[in-house]
Amino acid sequence: MNSNSSTISPPLNPHRWGGSTPSQREGARGRVPSVIVQGTELETLPTDLYIPPDALQVFLEGFEGPLDLLLYLIQHQNLDILNIPIAEVTQQYLKYVDIMQEMDLDLAAEYLAIAAMLMEIKSRLLLPTANESKDSEDPRAKLVQQLREYAQYKQAAQDLDNLPRLERDILPVSVEQHEIPKEIILPQITWSALLEAMRDVMERANLFTSHHIMSEPLSVRERMSFILERLTESKTINFIDCFTLEEGRGGVVVTLLALLELTKESLVQIVQPKPYEMIQVISS
């Protein structure tokens, strides 16, 4: 790598690359994303970085981890995987990591771990070893081994993807059967298994954004189902008939909440055809 290779400084507006929709990315194809190097915007990309001229972020996010990135650096320059020029590769690797950090990409800790490993190897290669003959194991050996193994499975994943498979390349066949009375046998599901599944879902759902997971009491949801079901039988029900007075105050409140929720979700409409006429619930 030549000595005047530029350092990449943070882009003035890091959001320039962020949060683009797929269609925007599509549109950006062919345009060179701006890269600010030492205060000047580059017209062309530094060749030693091998950034393709389409969306940089998509490109950077495309790596399946630090080994994938390293492999890319090595293969794209036809470097010898068995004899990696560590100084060169380390420098390039660190540049990518810098860009990723500056672009606020979710940078997994593993990227930094490999960076540390590269630097360590580099420094060990630089150190003159006193007993060279004895302790001659190449500090790169472990990394090379890891890279080769990863490359193998990366290829295997591609091979797997190329195998003919159901749904995409082969379709299952089915024919109609002469009415064998289809006997449905229920699986045996325990109550606790069902609850545990729900708890898992909720724990996971909490990780996903702010799903307002479920605060209203269950009885409201059940009543919602009940009202919808009645509406499949008759198109219209009298508002009054939705309530069962025997259920008392609590029941009335539940029904009212259910009706309001259904209205909010535009599943039913509450209408009064004319003043003083019965209020009616109709399905929308």
Binding site: L171, P172, V173, S174, V175, E176, Q177, H178, I180, K182, E183, I184, I185, L186, P187, Q188, I189, T190, W191, S192, A193, L194, L195, E196, A197, M198, R199, D200, V201, M202, E203, R204, A205, F208, H211, I213, M214, S215, P217, L218, S219, R221, E222, M224, S225, L228, E229, L231, T232, E265, S266, L267, S283, S284
Partner: protein, 195 residues
Amino acid sequence: MTDLPLKSIIEAALFAAGKPLTIDHFIAIFAETSQPERSVVRTVLRELREEYAERGIELVEVASGYRFQTKQNLTPWLKGLQPERSPRYSRALLETLAIIAYRQPITRGEIENIRGISVSSDIIRKLHDYKWIRVLAHRDTPGKPALYGTSREFLNYFNLKNLNGLPPLTELMANAQEELFETEEKKEEEINPKN
């Protein structure tokens, strides 16, 4: 004899479709520039019918189109293929059922949002087959997705009188590790006699 590719395509389509196909369906398979004549399709179908005459399945025309079906006289043997043991179920099925129970009425898309992963048609079909869920209505949005809810059979199976018998989610969620086990044990006792 018509040329083989056309016949093979029509034959494979009949097997892969999972529903009866009309002549229009067959024609629509092909690009506009290479669509076969209706009469050609008819000829192919007649040839296929003849070729399968002596086999274990036959090509028939029903109200909604053409389909392959097993020969009636073989039905007694095919009964043995029906599974007898209670079927295995997946985690995905459990989760889907639980979400429908707690969040009904709910569309498949909404279930997928909560699970963070798609829900296969197979699961929905199974839950229908078990009669544990039913379609309550259709949401008035593009595609008119079905809104699912649980059924009386679902309540019966889990020995519940109504959905209030399910523990509230807040209880499930918060702190609830120990509480849950207690509830589970109690419930298990109530339910087990059935299984």
